[in-house]
Amino acid sequence: MAKVPLTFTLNDAEIGVFVVPGSNLLDVLRRGAGDLTPKEGCAQGACGACTVLIDGVPHLSCLTLAEMAEGRRISTTGGLAVGPELHPLQTAFMEGFAAQCGFCTAGMLMSAKALLDQTPNPTRDQVIEAISGNLCRCTGYEPIVDAILTAAAKMQGRTA
């Protein structure tokens, strides 16, 4: 089976890999590019654990045909922190006890980041809408919603 070349930008790094035709982007990111932060929860597009940003907007990497990522700019939780400096969302999730098993967290953070990039001062309902494609089985969602609002406030110099 002939593999095909694929290049894309992953968290500001240029990536070139060879992929099996028909692979999904999630598999390519994890096993091809070695970025293990997006997770596979269903491969059906229903859990959101594989959420990544493509050209700045959230996509489900499990439902993205790898070939269609050619030349695109992909962001994952692996690139969220700047060096040792955590993104305010990460800090807020930590301090807000917004994760238990942690498996949904990377996808949640990507959906939340996309929201705050577009809407720095979201309402609670906007936060809920932004994570509506991301399932969490542990927390009951409330700590996650609170953490995103806290991060937004912090980024705006407010206290939530």
Binding site: V20, G22, Q44, G45, H59, L60, L65, E67, S132
Partner: protein, 263 residues
């Protein structure tokens, strides 16, 4: 039976490439799930470099390229009357991926956008230049050949078009039922088109109810006859979300609430 991916420069060429064992990929939300789960019914994936994501006014209608995503619809002022539909489809990621063209092929419990297009009597434009009304397109959907390149939707006012998605999970969940209404007339209903989603193998019209609304006003007595016959012609089935019995039982309730705007 390993998969191959074929890329074509134009929609027309891509359209000619699809066939028994070749599927076109738009947003991927339907096709890639099938790929991931080893669907054995195809082994070629067809991509077109030419993707029509444009949304523009065209005559009396709005033309939406089949490659337009739900997010594109939400970003379009011209398609403003369709925002209530696009907004309730999937989460943000799905809306960035799922296309209008793909939605026409989505089996229950998906296909909310197609339900709306059926109520609005949209026209489906195929790659070979043929045009088809939504209703006949949907009834022949499983045998459809060729690519959809665009749909043209009559431009309606937000007052004339109403949409309800009944889902148990909020804010995002699969449809237990979707209802789209196109109501024309002032005071009394001159013309009504009613489409139900997830009440049959494809979105279906409630023609008896449409008939019964004609000449009536939107009051409880005015709509009573329509509610009584609203399931005529629908073919609800049991599925994990609800039984056919329940769907029939609550269809008039949700239709009533949409008509009287008491939702």
């Amino acid at each position: 039976m390993s998969l191959s991916v074929e890329t074509y420069p134009t929609l027309r060429e891509a359209s000619q490439a699809i066939g028994d064992r070749a599927r076109y990929i738009g947003g991927g939300t339907l096709l890639m799930r099938a790929v991931n789960y080893g669907d054995q019914s195809f082994d070629r994936i067809v991509i077109s470099r030419e993707i029509d994501r444009t949304i523009r006014n065209e005559g009396q209608g709005v033309r939406i390229g089949a490659g337009a995503t739900m997010a594109d619809v939400l970003a379009s002022r011209d398609a403003g009357f369709l925002h209530p539909v696009a907004r309730v489809i999937g989460g943000p990621a799905v809306r960035n991926m799922g296309t209008v063209g793909g939605n026409l092929f989505a089996a229950a419990p998906f296909g909310d956008f197609a339900t709306a297009l059926l109520a609005l009597d949209a026209t489906v434009q195929m790659a070979d230049g043929q045009n088809q009304p939504m209703e006949s397109f949907l009834s022949g959907r499983d045998r459809a050949r060729g690519l959809v390149v665009a749909v043209t939707v009559p431009r309606v006012s937000e007052r004339e078009f109403r949409f309800a998605k009944i889902s148990r999970v909020k804010p995002k969940g699969a449809s237990m039922m979707a209802i789209a209404l196109w109501l024309r007339g002032s005071g009394r209903i001159d013309e009504a088109r009613i489409a139900f989603g997830t009440m049959g193998p494809t979105p279906l019209r409630a023609k008896a109810a449409e008939q019964a609304l004609r000449g009536r006003d939107l009051t409880e007595p005015g709509i009573a006859a329509a509610l009584a016959v609203c399931c005529d012609g629908l073919q609800p089935a049991d599925d994990p979300l609800a039984t056919a019995w329940y769907r029939r039982a609550v269809a008039p309730v949700h239709l009533k609430r949409l008509l009287l705007e008491t939702r």
